[in-house]
C-alpha cells in the first residue's frame, strides 16, 4: 500500500487585472485608480487554476501536459509554496524540490564553490548536507577545474550544468521538473533525464511538466492534461498524450496565438500565427503526401533583433522528432539576415512532395538567437494530416510503417547467370 504524497483539492488561483503577473504599481497609479473606480467597478481577473483536484501516490512519476498559459506553472508554483492559492487545499508529504528553480540565487561574483553552498541553502539544504554531496555535485557538473572561479566567467553550458547539479542533488521526497530539459545540449539533456529516472527509481515522487511528448511517454505512466486552468483528463500517458495532441489543436490548419500564451519574455518577438498551406496556397489542415506544401510563421518584431532564427520542428503525435529547420539554416540567408529590423514578417518553409507518410503530424515553433535567448517556443503549435492519395504503394490498402514516404527509384532486372550478382567480379 503506497501512501499519498500529494493531495490537491479544489485548488484555484485567481490573478487580478487579467494578467498572469500583476505588475507593481506606483502610488500615483493607485491614487488615480481610486478615482476611476467610482465610475466603473473593475472586476477584471482570470482564474489561472480552477477546481483542480488530484492525488499522487508516493513513488509515482506523473506527467503534466498543457499548452502555454494553461496553468501548469501556476500549479507548480503553488506546490512549491512560492505563491498562495486563492482557494482549495494542498497536502504534501515531504520536501518539494523543483527543477524550475535551477540556478536561483546564483551570484555572478561568487565562485562555483561558493555558489554551490549558497544555492544549496536557498533550496533548503543544510550545510552538512551540501558538504557531504559537494564532490558529487562538482563531478556531475564537470567543473572541477573552475570551481574557484567566479561563475560570471563560466560558459553558459558550465553555468547550467553546475546549477542543475545542485538542484539535482537536493534529494527531495517530491521532485518537480519543469521544462528544464528544453535548455542545454543533447548530452546534457540526456544526463538530466537519466538523473530524473534515477530519482524515480529511488521511489521518490516526480511531477514532470514538459512539452516534449516523447520524454513524457518515456518517463511517466500517468499524465494530467490541463487546459485553461482546469484538469481535463487524467489517464495512462499514451492515452493522455493522444488526447492532448488531438484536442484543441485542429484549428483548420492555422493557429493564431492568444495573448495569454505569449510570455513577456518573448519581447520584442511577437508571434502572430502559424499555418499550413496546401499546393494551391489555401490554408488547410490536410495536405497531400505527393504534393509540396508550405508551413509559414507570421510574427512581428517590436525592435530589430540580431541573429534571429525562426524555425519549426516536425513531430509525430507520439512526440518523436522528424526534423528541425530554421529560416536562416542556409548560409546565404544567414548572412543576409544578420539583423532583422522591426516590422511584421512571414517566414515560409516549403516542404517537398513525397516526404511524409500518411498520418497526423505536429508542428512546433521556435524563435531564438543561438546561445543568447529563446524568445518564444510552442512545441505543439499546430496539428495537420497527410493524405496518402496517389502516394507510392497506394495500390495496396495497408498502413505503411515509418514517418517518411519517399518516392524512391527502384530498378528490377533479371539475373540471367544464376550466380550471386556481386561474385562476378
Amino acid at each position: 500500500m503506497s501512501k499519498i504524497a500529494i493531495r490537491v483539492e479544489d485548488l484555484g488561483k485567481k490573478y487580478n487585472i487579467g494578467l498572469p503577473v500583476v505588475k507593481y504599481q506606483t502610488l500615483r497609479d493607485k491614487i488615480s485608480e481610486s478615482f476611476k473606480r467610482r465610475e466603473q467597478v473593475v472586476d477584471d481577473y482570470i482564474w489561472a487554476l480552477k477546481e483542480v483536484s488530484f492525488e499522487v501516490k508516493e513513488g509515482q512519476v506523473l506527467g503534466i501536459v498543457g499548452r502555454n498559459g494553461a496553468g501548469k506553472s501556476t500549479l507548480l508554483k503553488i506546490l512549491s509554496r512560492v505563491t498562495e492559492p486563492t482557494e482549495g487545499l494542498v497536502e504534501i508529504r515531504g520536501r518539494v524540490g523543483s527543477l524550475l528553480e535551477v540556478g536561483t540565487g546564483f551570484h555572478p561574483e561568487l565562485t562555483g564553490r561558493e555558489n554551490i553552498f549558497l544555492n544549496g541553502a536557498i533550496l533548503g539544504m543544510r550545510r552538512e548536507e551540501i558538504q557531504s554531496k559537494f564532490d558529487e555535485i562538482v563531478d556531475f557538473a564537470e567543473v572541477e577545474k573552475f570551481i574557484d572561479t567566479p561563475v560570471k566567467r563560466y560558459s553558459s553550458g558550465m553555468y547550467l550544468r553546475l546549477a542543475f547539479a545542485v538542484a539535482a542533488h537536493l534529494e527531495p521526497e517530491i521532485l518537480v521538473v519543469d521544462e528544464v530539459l528544453a535548455v542545454g545540449d543533447a548530452e546534457f539533456q540526456r544526463k538530466c533525464l537519466g538523473k530524473m529516472s534515477d530519482v524515480a527509481q529511488q521511489g521518490r515522487t516526480v511531477l514532470f511538466v514538459s512539452h516534449n511528448m516523447s520524454a513524457v511517454l518515456r518517463l511517466t505512466q500517468e499524465t494530467l492534461v490541463i487546459d485553461h486552468g482546469q484538469l481535463l483528463l487524467r489517464a495512462p500517458t499514451p492515452e493522455a498524450v493522444d488526447f492532448y495532441l488531438s484536442t484543441g489543436l485542429t484549428q483548420e490548419g492555422q493557429k493564431i496565438w492568444n495573448e495569454d500564451e505569449i510570455t513577456t519574455a518573448a519581447k520584442p518577438f511577437q508571434p502572430i500565427a502559424i499555418r499550413v498551406l496546401d499546393k494551391q496556397g489555401v490554408v488547410s489542415d490536410t495536405v497531400r503526401s505527393v504534393e509540396p506544401f508550405v508551413i509559414e510563421v507570421e510574427y512581428e518584431l517590436e525592435k530589430s533583433v540580431k541573429g534571429l532564427r525562426v524555425g519549426i520542428y516536425l513531430m509525430t503525435t507520439r512526440g518523436e522528432y522528424i526534423f528541425t529547420s530554421f529560416d536562416t539554416d542556409d548560409i546565404s540567408q544567414y548572412e543576409s539576415h544578420t539583423v532583422r529590423p522591426a516590422g511584421r514578417y512571414i517566414s515560409r518553409c516549403e516542404i517537398p512532395a513525397n516526404l511524409l507518410n500518411e498520418g497526423r503530424y505536429v508542428i512546433g515553433m521556435n524563435a531564438s538567437t543561438y546561445l543568447i535567448k529563446r524568445y518564444f517556443q510552442d512545441d505543439q503549435a499546430l496539428l495537420f494530416n497527410v493524405d496518402p492519395a496517389g502516394a507510392p504503394g497506394m495500390q495496396w490498402v495497408e498502413t505503411r510503417l515509418g514517418t517518411v514516404r519517399p518516392a524512391l527509384k527502384w530498378n528490377i532486372e533479371k539475373n540471367e547467370s544464376g550466380k550471386l550478382h556481386h561474385d562476378k567480379k
Binding site: Q25, E91, T104, F117
Partner: protein, 278 residues
C-alpha cells in the same frame, strides 16, 4: 524508517487576515540567514579598488566634512569634547542604521528572481541585509578606538551599554525596513523616497549637534526617534557626555519595539502577495 525520518506533511491553503508570525519556520531556515549575510559581505566590495576600506571611509569622510563645516565654521558646541570625535561617535551607530535601512528596504525587490521561484521565509531577506552591516560597523569602530587614543579620551565604565544600543539600532532598522521593504514590493515609490528619508532622519538625530541644543519642551517628541536614544547612549558610554540612559532611551526602545512588532505583522500579511507582484 524510524518515525523521526517520516517526512512532515505540509498543508498549503489560502491564508486570511493577519497571519501568525510563524517564527518556527524562520528557525528552520536559520542557516539561510547566515548564507545571505555571508553572500552580501562577500559581494559588497567585489570589483572595488578600495575594498573593505569603504567601511571606514564613509563615516570618516562624513566626520571630516562635519568637523570642517559644523565644528569649525558654524562652531556647533560639542559638549566639551573635540568635535571630530563627538560627531564620529554618533556617526558609527548612524551609519550602521542607515546602511541597514537602505539595504533591507530594497532587499525584497533586489531578490525578486529568488522570491518568484523558491519558497523560504521572506523575513530572512531584510534580516540578513541588516546583519551584513554589522561587520562594517566593527571595522569602523576600530577607527574610533584609535581616535580616542589620539585625543587621550578614556572610555567610561559604561561600555556595557554599547551592545544593547547596537541592538536597539538594528531593531529599529529592521522594524522600519519590514514596513518599507514590503511596501516597496507594491509601490516602487519607496525606492525613490529612501534617500530623502535617510537625509531627513539624519537631521532629526543628534549627530552633527548635541541634543542639549533641543529646547526642553521638545525633548519628548525628539525622543520619539529611536536613534536619539542610541546616539546619546553611545556618547554617554564612550565619551562620558550627557546623561545616562533614562527616559529618552526608554521612549526610544518602546518606539523601536512598536515599529518592529507592527512591521512583522504587516510583513507577514503582505508576504503571500510578494511572488505575484514583485
Amino acid at each position: 524508517m524510524s518515525a523521526m525520518n517520516e517526512p512532515r506533511t505540509i498543508v498549503i491553503k489560502p491564508s486570511t487576515g493577519w497571519a501568525a508570525l510563524n517564527l518556527k519556520d524562520l528557525w528552520n531556515y536559520r542557516e539561510l540567514i547566515y548564507f545571505f549575510t555571508w553572500r552580501d559581505l562577500k559581494v559588497r566590495y567585489k570589483q572595488t579598488l578600495l575594498g573593505a576600506s569603504w567601511a571606514i571611509l564613509q563615516p570618516v569622510l562624513t566626520m571630516v566634512v562635519f568637523s570642517i563645516f559644523f565644528g569649525g565654521l558654524a562652531k556647533v558646541p560639542s559638549d566639551g569634547v573635540p568635535y571630530p570625535i563627538f560627531s564620529y561617535t554618533a556617526l558609527l551607530p548612524w551609519t550602521l542604521f542607515s546602511k541597514a535601512l537602505q539595504d533591507a528596504s530594497r532587499s525584497l525587490v533586489s531578490s525578486a528572481n529568488i522570491i518568484s521561484k523558491v519558497y523560504f521565509p521572506r523575513l530572512i531577506l531584510p534580516l540578513s541585509s541588516t546583519l551584513a552591516g554589522l561587520v562594517d560597523f566593527l571595522i569602523a569602530f576600530a577607527v574610533l578606538l584609535l581616535m580616542m587614543v589620539f585625543y587621550g579620551i578614556k572610555p567610561t565604565g559604561n561600555l556595557w551599554l554599547l551592545p544593547l544600543l547596537v541592538l536597539l539600532a538594528l531593531i529599529t532598522a529592521i522594524g522600519v525596513s519590514l514596513w518599507l521593504s514590503a511596501l516597496n514590493v507594491m509601490y516602487r515609490d519607496v525606492g525613490h523616497m529612501l534617500p530623502f528619508l535617510n537625509q531627513f532622519w539624519m537631521y532629526i538625530t543628534p549627530i552633527a549637534y548635541s541634543s542639549s541644543l533641543v529646547p526642553e519642551e521638545w525633548r519628548f517628541i525628539y525622543a520619539l526617534n529611536p536613534l536619539t536614544g542610541v546616539v546619546e547612549g553611545f556618547r554617554w558610554a564612550l565619551l562620558g557626555t550627557g546623561e545616562g540612559p533614562g527616559i529618552t532611551l526608554l521612549i526610544s526602545s518602546c518606539i523601536a519595539f512598536l515599529i518592529t512588532i507592527s512591521g512583522l505583522f504587516y510583513f507577514r500579511r503582505m508576504e503571500r502577495k510578494f511572488a505575484d507582484v514583485v
